[in-house]
């Protein structure tokens, strides 16, 4: 049997030989880096193999920064219209605000925002049931709604940080005040080896400006996502030469460098760091050609491009990122993390003017996201690709300043699709005014656990010595939505 803390029993060198120095790239660099720890403890790093048969091979993680109103997206509540303008205390739902039920929120910063809003605010948009499942979705997300029968919707999420540190919390599972912890993508990257030797396995797109900008943390910078821009001319940091340098000259230099490094092996044989350095250069060179190809859409059919909305100014940016995501998945990249509306508190942070704000933001994401699901499915990729549509928290049933909603940690919605999940299911509910998640409640790490399970990973077997993880870090897979 495997224990929660697998221990190293073989000398490191034998272990490296087992792994074979032949495979290249990040995995090796990362592995050698882990090796630094291995020499200090009796423990083995993951071998890049799933712990059990996986259902999904890749994750596309879409994160809406600022906090999408669950009420005006995937969890509409007619009672808000019925009791609009009344205080919660005047409705039959007064008990939602009893102090014990509000104790969940853990405040980082006492703020003008992140407070209780008592006067119920009516829904700012209509909604309808969609698909076989009759999933109720707001009119701002018509394209996603057309895909209702592909979606597993969880309406009973909660988190604890009532500030935007909840963005980090959704990625790492930990409250901002606890410190910095690895994000889900870093764990997946750490646990699973390379599927592709030409591309980094963990990629991030979009502006990243939540409280921490990195992913690996104690797993190391090798597990940070590699940032990618949808710009064929300059998609990667240091991806193109910053001074004129002809390709021919460069190739001569590279082959000289290879030769010289190899020659050094005479005096310094059997050096894993040298092997990793050489491998990292090989991957870097391959990335320089393979990455621009990812964001070069010239070979995509016009129909596909317009399906995503590349020809629509209001959603072009997200469309490009999602099309690139599909192309990355096709090439075997494990985890693609895309931030929508990053910067400041986040574009969805509608403390005021919610109607205009959410209508605009929804327009920017709805078509690309719907198209992604349709495109993946028609190519037969959706079964092995898990798409996540998430946000840091919901928004208050009560009004803030008469035109907006405040941060709301007690109940909100997240949906996933594909990757071996059930299609067209709704799981969990909030109460009649969308205040508290009431049945099948899930903390954010339950989403992580579900994804890891579909990827064939056991988070307990990924633990590393000296870094104690709590029960809540691991979460529990949401088995009800797994096919």
């Amino acid at each position: 049997m495997q224990t929660a803390h697998p221990f190293r029993t073989l000398p490191r060198r034998a272990f490296l030989a087992d792994m074979g120095l032949g495979f290249t790239g990040l995995a090796l660099g990362a592995m050698l880096q882990r090796e630094g720890r291995a020499e200090e403890t009796l423990w083995v790093p993951p071998d890049g193999q799933p712990h059990f048969a996986p259902k999904a091979k890749s994750v596309i993680w879409l994160f809406m920064n600022g906090g999408v109103s669950h009420l005006e997206s995937f969890d509409p509540k007619p009672m808000l219209n019925k009791y609009a303008g009344k205080t919660i205390a005047e409705t039959p739902y007064a008990s939602t605000q009893s102090p014990d039920k509000l104790a969940l929120a853990r405040v980082t910063v006492p703020d003008a925002n992140g407070n209780q809003r008592n006067e119920l605010y009516p829904l700012q948009v209509g909604y309808k049931p969609y698909g076989q499942s009759g999933m109720e979705i707001s009119d701002w997300f018509p394209r996603i709604a057309r895909n209702a029968d592909r979606i597993a919707l969880v309406r009973s999420m909660y988190t604890t940080d009532s500030n935007h540190g909840a963005q980090t919390q959704f990625h790492s599972g930990r409250h901002n005040l606890d410190g910095d912890f690895p994000n889900l993508g870093a764990w997946v990257h750490y646990g699973l080896g390379s599927l592709n030797e030409n591309l980094p396995q963990f990629i991030s797109m979009g502006t990243r400006e939540y409280w921490n900008k990195r992913d690996g943390h104690y797993l190391g910078p090798a597990h940070d996502a590699v940032p990618l821009r949808i710009d064929p001319a300059n998609p990667l940091d240091f991806g193109i030469s910053e001074r004129p340098f002809s390709q021919q000259s460069k190739e001569i230099g590279i082959s000289l460098m290879r030769r010289l490094n190899d020659l050094r092996g005479v005096e310094y044989p059997q050096e894993p760091a040298m092997a990793a350095r050489i491998a990292s250069y090989e991957l870097a060179f391959r990335m320089q050609t393979s990455v621009p190809d990812i964001v070069d859409f010239s070979k995509e059919a016009e129909e596909t491009k317009s399906l995503y909305g590349l020809d629509q100014p209001h959603c072009r940016e997200f469309a490009g990122q999602l099309l690139a995501a599909r192309r990355l998945v096709e090439r075997g990249v494990r985890f693609i993390q895309i931030q929508h509306g990053g910067g400041g508190a986040g574009a969805w942070d509608a403390h005021g003017g919610l109607k205009e704000n959410h209508a605009t933001q929804a327009l920017a994401v709805d078509q690309p996201v719907g198209a992604l699901l349709e495109d993946l499915d028609r190519r037969g990729m959706l079964d092995e690709t898990l798409v996540v549509f998430a946000t840091e928290f919901g928004r208050t049933p009560g009004s803030q300043g008469g035109t907006g909603r405040d941060h709301h940690v007690f109940g909100f919605s997240v949906w996933m699709a594909g990757g071996g999940l059930k299609r067209g299911v709704v799981h969990g509910t909030t109460d009649e005014i969308g205040f508290h998640a009431v049945d099948n409640r899930h903390y954010v790490t339950d989403i992580h656990a579900t994804i890891l399970k579909q990827m064939g990973l056991d988070s307990r077997r990924l633990e590393i010595p000296g870094r104690k993880r709590l029960e809540i870090d691991h979460g529990v897979p949401i088995t009800e939505i797994i096919a």
Partner: protein, 785 residues
Amino acid sequence: MNRRLQRCTSWLVWVAMCLPTLAQAEEHWAFQAPSRPSLPPIARAAWARNPIDTFISSHHERQGLQPQPEAKRLLLLRRLYLDLIGVPPGPDEVARVEAAPDESWYEGVVQQLLADPRHGERWARHWMDVWRYSDWWGLGDQLRNSQKHIWHWRDWIVESLNANLPYDEMVRLMLAADESHPDDLDKLRATGFLARNWYLFNRHQWLEETVEHVSKGFLGLTMNCAKCHDHKFDPVSQMDFYRMRAVFEPYQVRNDMLPGVTDIDVDSIPRAFDGWLDKPTYRFVRGEETKPDQSVVAQPGIPDFLTPPMPTVEPIMLTASAWQPARRPWVQESMMEAARQKVQKASLELAATHEKPAGVESPMPEAQAALKVAESLVTLAQTELESLQKRISASRAQWDREDRKQATPCDEIAVAVQAERRASVAKSTHQVAEAELRVLRAEPGKKDEMEKQLAAARESLTKAVAVSESEVKAGEIFTRIEGARWAATRFDDSTKDDAPVAFPAESSGRRTALAAWITDPRNPLTARVAVNQIWMHHLGTPLVATVFDFGRKGTPPTHPELLDWLATELITSGWNMKHLHELIVTSTTYRMSSTMVGGEANAVKDPDNLRWWRRNPIRLDAEVVRDSALALTGELDATRGGPPIAAAAQAESKRRSLYFFHSNNDRNLFLTSFDTAMVKECYRREQSIVPQQALALTNGRLVLDASWKIADRFSTEVSADADFINLAFSVLLGFKPGDAEMKASLEALGAWSALPPDEGRDAASTARSHLIWSLLNHNDFVTLR
């Protein structure tokens, strides 16, 4: 099967280790004061240059290991330079050492480098990792963490290391210079260590981080594990966590005015002071800040099981100018000088206005109004100077009375109040003049608005005049001279500053007591933790792998006697770090080759080199990679100290990387790809090998620009290609090219020469710059062999 069985067994051993009695816990090796170990007898006595080698050799002999021979001369030179000053030797140094007749060059270079001011810059960065140096960060322009001028602390670290300030003294000053040297701005810079932990919004997070990193950084103790419950491994109770918090409970941060700089926002010294003398510390139930257990006040202290006990906390009376910084002569002088300069500037402006003839662009009434503005500005500057003079006089008179314990108010107060009122009238008068001018100059559509502003200005003036004509009331006060400013927090409401914290006349003495205990030679942890860091930076691998955890969950030392010998050597040398550096770098252990050749038998017995039969190769620190490339061009800017280089200026900057703006939110991309320190916690850096590094080195302008410049520089030293190649390998990589390397390099030069040259350069120099580019991308450029 066998493997699984072994795994289970290991796991059981591990579980068993976790369940000892408290008594056993207290017997843990790191909790006993180190005693000076005697030197073990060794057979290979000639191998040992100093006691470090004796301990290392004794392990070799016990395990039947044969140490690797000494590395070659050029490599040794490269090691010393990169290790001690963080930049490689140039062609001259390389030539000098190559020509040295015997081995005595080594000692000479060691002495020279330890005396080099770049030594402080190199080693400051190591300690800045441990002590969590960070420039400020927040949201947009809002300061939320650390302090704007925290770089003064960085400069203090560099200077202290260069001056070889003893380690214990550095620790004492960082923790409590405000109590031991309350009026010495130079030394107060040290408390930037505490000012860095300043956090706008949450006091608990601030203090919890302080406790965590004081104990990890200085003591190798994970006190943070006892925040919510008793420590699971070490005999640290939850209350102990709060006792250590109580040591820091009174401290706050303020910025002290510097001579010649009257605007604290422009420059000032961020420093600690005790502002909340009566603030009780409570244990939080389960560590939750909303659940303080108010039945018991936690008293400042340390875990009981550690000896010696912490000295008794004695409150410290501060010198008057420490808590009334306006008393500092330079504060008054700087402010007077600034006020005088204002008068001078206003007078010059007035003279210039007089000279401007009234003309078409400036009709008569407007010229008169402009003159009135200039005149009123002179009056304003003069009355402000007077007001300042009177306020200083009144302040001095008051201080004088306070010093003589007289309670009666002095006449100077009323004089100062009146002078300040006159300044206020002058200010309003000037504002009226300005408003009048604006009315004259206003475009038709703006006239009404300007008239309104003028009316308001006149009303203010009327009020100011009325106030100035009234009698000065008893108890009325004047605006105090500000010699320092409290770093305002927002614990209660994120939208407005908390109630100001005054500067008390006494300090709690708590931090002095803790610092005395940490630096007590009998403290079992302090010296061991420090020498472990020093060893790690010299040799790449620490003696205790868990550098911040010397507790029972930490890894035991590979060489316990050596660790203790080094710790006692540090203490008995007067915590002399340069002495320790010298000992380590002159040891035979340090000089060994890192090659595996000939070490095959060793590798079977000790595959992980735990017994140091060879050197471990080190991936260079991020800063060393960048600084080396710049240094080799000859363009590295040797300027030391000062404000950090902003992100936007970094690409052009030739300053050492140490001076780059470096915070949680803003780090240089090139340095980040090479694992530069994370500011929240960095007791040991990663040495990752990732493709982003390859991209940064192949495509980044740093290396591309450096390649040209280095090639040109070397070409002035040598002419033939073979000599150029020889020099380039020696200086960039620390070894002489062999025949195969020479052949490959010459072939490449030939191939490049056949291609069109870079713009503005000939084929030969273009080819040479490409060769340099290739060598800067060689594994050995970023590796210390």
